[in-house]
Amino acid sequence: MDLDNYSNIKSPIHSWDARWKCITFFGYILISAFVNNFYNLIVIAAASTLLVFFAGLPIRKVLKSLKPLFILLLFMVPVISLTPTGDAIFSYGVIKVYRDGLITAGIISVRAFSIVLATIVLFGSTRINIIIKALEFFKIPPVISTIFLFTYRYIFLYIENLNKLLTSAKLRGYRLLRGIRHIRNTVSILVSLLIRSYEQSERVYYAMRLRGFSGSFRSIGSFSFKWPDIVKTGIFVILFTVIIWIELL
């Protein structure tokens, strides 16, 4: 969950210039969403797995990040393959598994895995502030990048705050509540978190103004790309071309 933990690993993915890496990965994610061909599905599944391998991210952590997707697919695949469309390929009493549904479910699963793996690799191999700086290079409005940066910073603070509030509530019997009283007490916790954040946002604004904030966050340091960056992006450009070519055939 904490995106910064794996950014110090040394790997060809980690050393990739953030601008080239971002544009390549975003391209890869969009193209993966577009794949339908059987061979292409194998290609993107393999490519994403290789990315994880090259980035040297701990496998256990990657599997843990895939958990929400597993759970969703566990629910989605049966539902889609049981939806009556075209021919049934398997039946047991009233339950029928349909061919089209099964294929769609398979396509969706492979696409989703490839995209989520790519997302995990991108954000596991680059610090969030570097990614945001790279996005600024691609002209996303500075207000947006500033909001992204500050939100990221305060998410962690509020997770900590929320845990403290929940602990103190549990010590006073919060767990035993049921029904509307449970909801009311949970809402109180939520509201106190929101009010604290509102008050803090005012102080943070003062603190920023005192240090010369003028509407957007400026940072120093510049990107530099070397020939391996071009090679890495080049490999993906070839991959994209092949995928699109196969899809169009």
């Binding site: 940066l149 003062y206 603190a207 005192l210 240090r211 010369g212 966050f217 400026r218 120093i220």
Partner: protein, 255 residues
Amino acid sequence: MSSQIVLKVNKLCFSYPDKKNVLTDISFEMNGGERIALIGPNGSGKTTLFLLLCGILSPASGGIAVNGKDIKPNQFNTDISYMFQSPDDQLFTATVFDDVAFGPINEGLPEGEVKDRVKSALERVKCHELIDKSPHHLSGGEKRMVALATILSMHPEIMLLDEPTSDLDLLNRRNIITLFASLQKTMIISSHDLEFLLETCNRALIIDNGKIVEDGNIVDLLSDEGLMKSHHMEKPHSLYPHTHKRAIPGAPRDH
């Protein structure tokens, strides 16, 4: 250390929309290099005074001048800087470097100088190894020290510090006392840690109910038991010679 007047506060008054007379008729002057302890009970107006001094709030009446120049509210001013009570208000970016560099970058300094300032500020607070960390990975004490570095990197002439020792362990508290002693800066420090103020400051302002009630030598003021009690404070233990005050009567003496 210069002894000319660097800060002049003249008949300052302030009210919040929902709270009248938070501060009334605050006047004092400060010489260069002087360190003032701002003490008073909770809600006496210390933080409000700080916010006025650094130009965040604008006074209802009265004026503040730094080196003869009036402080205008809402203007970026590097002469005077304020460290918030909570370091989480002070550290708002994704890395320690970005946070300490925030002020110098906004001053428009060239890149090389920004880096030098960040380096020397972090070295001053002995936190240079944290430069690439994210603020949310720091401990409470580290956050406090980095927050201090974000102020130091701007080279302010006057530093306003709100409860600087509140989340420090004894070692870091000692480090901060040593650091303050080595800084040639004018400071106003507000704290409930009176022993810390005794070691750091030479003058004290006692503020209660929005008014300055006493202004004088810190040891003289803090050792006046009656005065301290009347403003809901206690005379610091170190000012009781040869006695060991015990909170619980009858508790065993250990020497």
